[in-house]
Amino acid sequence: MIRNSTSMAALLTVFLTASLATSCSRKNASVTLPKPATFGAAIVESSGGKQMAQTGSLLPQPVIVQVNDEQGNGIPGALVQFEAAPGVSFDPAYGLTDSSGQFTTNVSLGGMAGRYQLTAFTFDKSHKRIELNLQEIALGYQQTVGRRLNDQYCDRCHNPESTVERVSNYDNLEVKPHAFAEGDTLNKISDADLTAIITHGGPALNRSALMPPWGNTLSKADIEALIAYIRSVSDPPSRAAGPIYGKD
């Protein structure tokens, strides 16, 4: 009887340790990185930085980075890994560079509006980590409304770039408007002044009458949304737009 119970206890202990061990090992085995064939000297952005997407959504274009050797040529078979704040997901998050030295990933941003810092890294020959930081912009409700209003009312003059669908009016204006990404200029203008200039037009702040007043056309909430959008696309970032979410 006694011998029986001790053997039972022993069996139980063995079982428990075994199950514990398997659960632990499963955790450890979750990521098996591919073995890099080569090691680069630098990692650079090919495309995909500074994109905008709604919170939680996929960026419109994939992020492509390239691993270069000392001569600046892309090298295939180098390991690239991506990391970012919790909530950001990569598809895929790691992998080897292709024949032209590039690695492509699709990125979904986190659930909070604001800037996200993505870090792509690889290792050089001495196993030192080399990094590349990219920033992407997640638009919340207000910025989404602002973006649409911007496209409808502001972009034709405030964006010097023309597209096939839409010719910019920027070059036609005697006094040039500011592009909304011009952080150096626009970050110095307070929300109150931006509101005044949008509501009452350029002359409200002693600027050109070519900027018409929108106060009778757009609602107060619309103008707040526009400013939220302008702050979120500002380069360098506007402090009012909030923190930059990165890897902790």
């Binding site: 959504s57 989404t144 649409r148 204006l173 939220a228």
Partner: protein
């Protein structure tokens, strides 16, 4: 062992006093469990963390004053919602904490609703009454709705808002896709207002398909529609070679010739090889039809089908007949009846027929159809529900071909069959089903679409909005979609307008396209002579526009018919044409108007009055505005443009009557240099 137990028993329960003491102690300890659990609870831990965080901030006192300790709750009896999320998310309304990056202490971003009135779970799902993180955010045995991933949040807006919203582009896109890709042809979606969602994809009738194309093309198309046109909305049914052979056999055998289709055009195509391209350009075909260019980009509109390989598809006689008058073949087509003459038809047809792809049909070799194949093809055509989308003679449209999706957004997870390795949530199931329907079971009929990930997210968002709550909300809590207008112009002119498919591009009384200006008040807006000239030779009003009104080769009688109808019927009650004279304004007033135009209102930023000095590209060119618009319309427009055309980007300047009158005087004096010279002659 037995001895040990006995001594243990004696030690604690040896006599009654000792036993009483021990039992009381156990009792006390067990009583303390509940308060201890409460004391060490997660929400208390977060509240302590919050107080610690705000201590060193400059606005600590204000934040401290706003802070309420203990479990917090938002209760919305109307919707049976109890949310305790704010017990941990304590700073939801603290706008000054926007720089805080860690949850649960971020303030809520600005939305058009008050948090106290809407709570949290209405938009974010999850278990509102729970007070631990895992129970609130994840699905449990008792609560199967976890927090909604941020990319689907707009679906919650769609539960109450049935209209188009500026702030919900994903939901808008998803809803449009349900109609545009014909999802609702097979799956019925009953909207809460009692109507059924209608498709907007307009699939062609297959009853006369043998007139239009060959069996070889049908076979290639059935096998892979996207190989013919990357933008094709028809999905891939993954048919076997034999099935595609038999279905094409049936469709050809079942086809009857279109009654009244005349023979080929006698005229020969223009010998000039560029004539076709320029006629295609002049007719603005690209406003509706796309073509893939050499770089692989699809350029053009998506109202009509892509034409990249049209020459490999259509028969010459059919194409010529269609170009001559598309309405003979499809009375409801969005394509206008251009009134091309025979030479033009031949030229355009020749240009389009040259758009071929030799690879498309090179490997298609099918023997003449046997009777068995035709019979089998017919069975396949009805089995795959082809008639849900296409009109096919002899086959009835199935009433309920696929599961209804009216309440798909609250389908219980226990009723779903997940694939291995797939997260067990409803959004993942819906997205997975759209991405690869046949992965769920090889026998399923739902075809393979070629959607991008973003499109799948949009569709999933729109489907999640179709749920129990959205279909049972009391009407006062909903924002209904604007009533659908089925306006059609009446009479002889109305028939002409239908023939010209005006409503494919223009909107009138809430019905029609949005490619071109709204014509609801066109009669109040323009002068008759201008309208007649414009219908005869449409010239562009906006220099930067790439989509323009095509020329329809109208007869004088037709032009007059249209002009009379528009001038009489499309009159705004807000504009009295006789309130302002068309001419005779004093020079001083005109001069004042000029000053206002260039100085105070700086209209030249967007408009051109003098081509030598003004450059504005955004609004219409105003060099001849005095010959185009009525003075009463200009005046009313100056006072409030959005009242006449909702959504126009012309800003409302809240002009005084005097300024508006002076600007009207100035603008009405702009008759255009060419016109004045012509008048002198």
């Amino acid at each position: 062992m037995k001895a040990n137990l006995r001594s243990f028993w004696r030690r604690f329960f040896g006599d009654s006093v000792r036993a009483f003491g021990v039992v009381s102690l156990i009792f006390l300890v067990s009583l303390a469990i509940a308060p201890a659990k409460n004391f060490f609870s997660e929400w208390r831990h977060y509240q302590h963390g919050y107080l610690k965080m705000i201590r060193n901030r400059s606005e600590a006192n204000t934040l401290q004053r706003h802070f309420k300790s203990g479990i917090q709750q938002i209760w919305i009896p109307d919707l049976n919602v109890v949310d305790r999320c704010t017990s941990c998310h304590v700073a939801m309304k603290e706008a000054s904490l926007t720089d805080v990056a860690t949850q649960p202490f971020r303030p809520h971003p600005v939305i058009p609703h008050k948090l106290d009135e809407f709570g949290c779970t209405i938009c974010h799902r999850g278990q509102g009454a729970a007070t631990t993180l895992s129970e609130a955010h994840s699905s449990t045995l008792a609560w199967e709705q976890p927090i909604l991933p941020a990319k689907y949040t707009e679906s919650s807006c769609g539960e109450c808002h049935r209209n188009w919203l500026m702030g919900t582009p994903v939901l808008n896109q998803g809803r449009a896709m349900l109609a545009r890709f014909g999802c609702v042809n097979c799956h019925s979606v009953k909207l809460p207002d009692g109507t059924t969602m209608k498709a907007t994809d307009d699939p062609p009738s297959l009853s006369h398909i043998a007139d239009k194309t060959t069996r070889e093309w049908i076979y290639a198309w059935l096998k892979d529609p996207q190989a013919y046109a990357t933008t094709a909305t028809m999905p891939n049914f993954k048919l076997s070679d034999d099935d595609a052979r038999d279905m094409s056999a049936f469709l050809i055998a079942n086809s009857t010739p279109v009654a009244g289709d005349s023979a080929t055009v006698p005229a020969k195509a223009s010998p000039d090889p560029t004539a076709g391209a320029s006629l295609y350009g002049e007719s603005f075909c690209a406003s509706c039809h796309a073509v893939q260019n050499a770089a692989g980009n699809v350029v053009g509109g998506d109202v009509g089908p892509e034409l990249t390989r049209i020459g490999s598809k259509v028969k010459s006689e059919w194409l010529q007949g269609w170009l001559r008058n598309p309405r003979t073949f499809d009375p409801g087509t969005a394509m206008p009846h251009y009134r091309f003459n025979d030479a033009q038809v031949a030229t355009l047809a020749g240009f389009l027929e040259a758009k071929t792809d030799s690879d498309l049909l090179s490997n298609v070799h099918i023997d003449p159809a046997t009777r068995e194949q035709i019979v089998h093809g017919k069975r396949l055509v009805s089995d795959y529900g082809c008639a849900s989308c296409h009109e096919i003679a002899g086959i009835k449209r199935p009433e309920t071909f696929a599961p209804e999706l009216t309440r798909i957004g609250s389908k219980p997870i226990t009723q779903l069959l997940f694939l291995r390795g797939m997260p067990h949530t409803l959004p993942d199931y819906i997205a997975g089903k759209i991405r690869q329907p046949r992965a769920f079971s090889p026998g399923l009929k739902m075809p393979q679409y070629s959607f991008t990930s973003a499109q799948i997210d949009a569709l999933t968002t729109a489907l999640l909005a179709l749920n129990e709550r959205s279909s049972t909300l009391p009407p006062p809590l909903t924002v209904p979609a604007p009533p659908k207008s089925e306006y059609q112009p009446a009479g002889k002119a109305g028939k002409l307008m239908t023939d010209l498919a005006c409503l494919s591009c223009h909107r009138i009384n809430g019905h029609g396209g949005d490619m071109a200006p709204d014509l609801t008040w066109e009669g109040s807006s323009v002068q008759r002579q201008w309208l007649v000239d414009f219908l005869k030779t449409p010239n562009t009003l906006r220099p930067a526009l790439i989509r323009r009104m095509p020329r329809f080769n109208l007869t004088d009688a037709e032009t007059n018919e249209l002009a009379d109808y528009i001038m009489t019927v499309y009159q705004s009650p807000a504009v009295d044409r006789d309130s302002m004279p068309q001419s005779g304004y004093p020079q001083s007033q005109i001069e004042l108007g000029r000053q206002l135009f260039y100085e105070k209102y700086s209209c030249q930023g967007c408009h051109i009055v003098d081509t030598k000095t003004d450059k504005g590209y955004i609004g219409p060119t105003l060099t001849q505005v005095g010959s185009r618009l009525t003075a009463a319309w200009i005046y009313a427009w100056m006072k409030n443009p959005q009242a006449l055309r909702p959504g126009t980007i012309e800003p409302n300047r809240a002009m005084s009557d005097e300024d508006a009158r002076a600007l009207t005087a100035f603008l009405i004096s702009q008759k255009g240099a060419g016109k004045q010279e012509a008048a002198k002659k």
